[in-house]
């Protein structure tokens, strides 16, 4: 078993590879890190040389051909946008800029009244070209690319012959191999403790929460969860963990549940996923209800005697 970590995608990425010799194991991990760095190079909003930045500069003037990975991510974003009835929308970049989560755009600010676009204004053309139908539309893949990068890292490990492994990008993780992994979910109110555990086998788990997401911007309680309809920050929950077949789905679906937990059951079911939600002061619940993939923490998982076990609630 080899475990390594590097700073990538704005967080710490930890990769575990089992079943190879030390030399081959390290080589496979190198390839997995390289794949993730490549995702970062192509899909970074901050890097002016990325495919995404080229798209944001040029796609409102005409079709722009993009690489296969970026196109794959946009296709998945389109599917989740459709199934979630617009709750998941990667075209919220201008709102994130206005709120200070992304660096501001050059040039005059676009008035709120002129910000009437959605992912429906993004055309994905058959030759891997992308076109924006609104002049001010900008895409940020921050809510989905990290999951995709985890999937690419897993693919690289598997191609290199790794039998069993984990890729964990700051909480967006995916495991593969014959034997399951036990994963702990951090408690949003007590980051030193576990909320619950999950036995994962060839699955992904992503968590979106408020405890660290907003660390960089002092004085702001809410993380970068934007309601695409209003352009305002919104989070109905303190923490959402989604268990899904792939990390790209788990990553993106946490945002759907965070913004619209009550309408998310059909979206989760459509993608073979389930969610564990924590609402401040209201406890924990699973979506879809009654089919919990999550093994909630009973007393044994909490070291503190002061803590009362979480219980689910019904609406």
């Amino acid at each position: 078993m080899i475990v390594r970590a590097r700073p990538l995608l704005g967080t710490f990425v930890e990769i575990q590879a089992d079943g190879l010799s030390e030399l081959d194991g390290h080589r496979s991990i190198d390839r997995a890190f390289d794949a993730m760095a490549e995702v970062q190079r192509r899909m970074s909003f901050h890097d002016p040389a990325s495919t995404l930045s080229r798209l944001n500069r040029l796609a409102s003037h005409g079709p722009v051909r993009v690489d296969e990975w970026t196109f794959d991510v946009l296709k998945t974003a389109a599917e989740i946008h459709l199934v979630s009835h617009g709750v998941f929308d990667v075209t919220i970049a201008p709102h994130l800029q206005r709120l200070g989560f992304l660096p501001p755009a050059a040039g005059p600010a676009v008035p709120m009244a002129a910000r009437r676009w959605s992912f429906a204004d993004v055309q994905l053309l058959p030759d891997r070209s992308v076109r924006f139908l609104h002049p001010n539309l900008r895409i940020d893949l921050g809510g989905i690319a990290k999951g995709f990068a985890v999937d690419q890292a897993v693919a690289a490990l598997q191609a290199a012959g790794v039998e069993r492994g984990v890729v964990n990008a700051g909480g967006d993780l995916r495991v593969f191999g014959q034997e399951a992994f036990v994963v702990s979910i951090r408690h949003p109110a007590r980051p030193g403790t576990a909320l619950g555990t999950l036995s994962l086998s060839n699955r992904a788990l992503a968590t979106s929460a408020h405890y660290f997401a907003d660390e960089r911007i002092s004085g702001r309680r809410l993380g970068p969860f934007i309601n695409p309809r209003t352009g305002r920050r919104q989070a109905r929950l303190q923490s959402v963990s989604v268990d899904a077949p792939t990390a790209i789905l788990a990553d993106a679906l946490t945002k759907v549940v965070m913004l619209a937990p009550d309408d998310s059951a059909h979206v989760l079911e459509r993608f073979g996923a389930s969610a564990l939600c924590v609402a401040a002061g209201r406890g924990v619940r699973c979506i879809p209800g009654g089919r919990a993939a999550f093994q909630l923490a009973a007393q044994p998982f909490f070291p503190s005697r002061r803590h009362r076990p979480a219980h689910s609630f019904n609406r």
Partner: protein, 180 residues
């Protein structure tokens, strides 16, 4: 050349001695990180640099960050007597974590690789606390994994790597000031 005052000692048998608290994760030793960053190199010559006040000032001016280290361990990676690059161990201390990491530089000072050596959380002790881990025994069908490696898999720990990014800037300034 400012580097003339650095005495490089050979050969190298230097390891970093670390006392690991219960919730530390050690990924790589210094020696194995050196091998990964500079495969094929036959010598790693170490220098324990002690910064002069002028150098500290220069590093702080270049980065806009305080230089809290009094000195730094820097290795020259050599192959057949030829310099292949530098290997520098640095530390960053954030709000919730302490990280030992290594930066591999090419001879002209470009970043080749960054590897986390060790990671400690100032909280999270409960998650990795051995007593707490014992609770897993018999609780899951795969308790062996819960004990061995399941605990390292924590979802929701979205820690920012900003401190390392800032640390790397400081390491690059150290290269400019002390090695170039």
């Amino acid at each position: 050349m400012q580097s003339s005052w650095i005495r490089w000692s050979l050969p190298v048998a230097v390891g970093l001695v670390v006392t690991a608290p219960g919730y530390a994760v050690q990924y790589l030793s210094v020696a194995s990180a050196q091998k990964l960053c500079f495969p094929g190199c036959d010598q790693f010559a170490v220098a324990h640099i002690k910064f002069t006040p002028a150098q500290i000032k220069a590093i702080e001016a270049a980065t806009g960050q305080p230089q809290q280290l009094r000195g730094q361990e820097i290795w020259k990676a050599m192959l057949g007597g030829q310099l292949q690059g530098y290997f520098i161990v640095d530390y960053v201390i954030g709000k919730h974590l302490v990280i030992d990491y290594a930066v591999a530089l090419s001879p002209d000072g470009a970043v080749r690789q960054i590897e986390i050596l060790q990671y400690r959380e100032s909280y999270g002790g409960e998650i990795r606390n051995p007593d707490w881990r014992k609770q897993f025994v018999g609780k899951t069908p795969r308790s062996r994994f819960a004990l061995n490696d399941g605990i390292t898999n924590i979802s929701g720990a979205t820690l920012s790597s900003r401190h390392v990014t800032e640390g790397v800037k400081r390491v690059l300034a150290t290269y400019e000031v002390c090695l170039k």
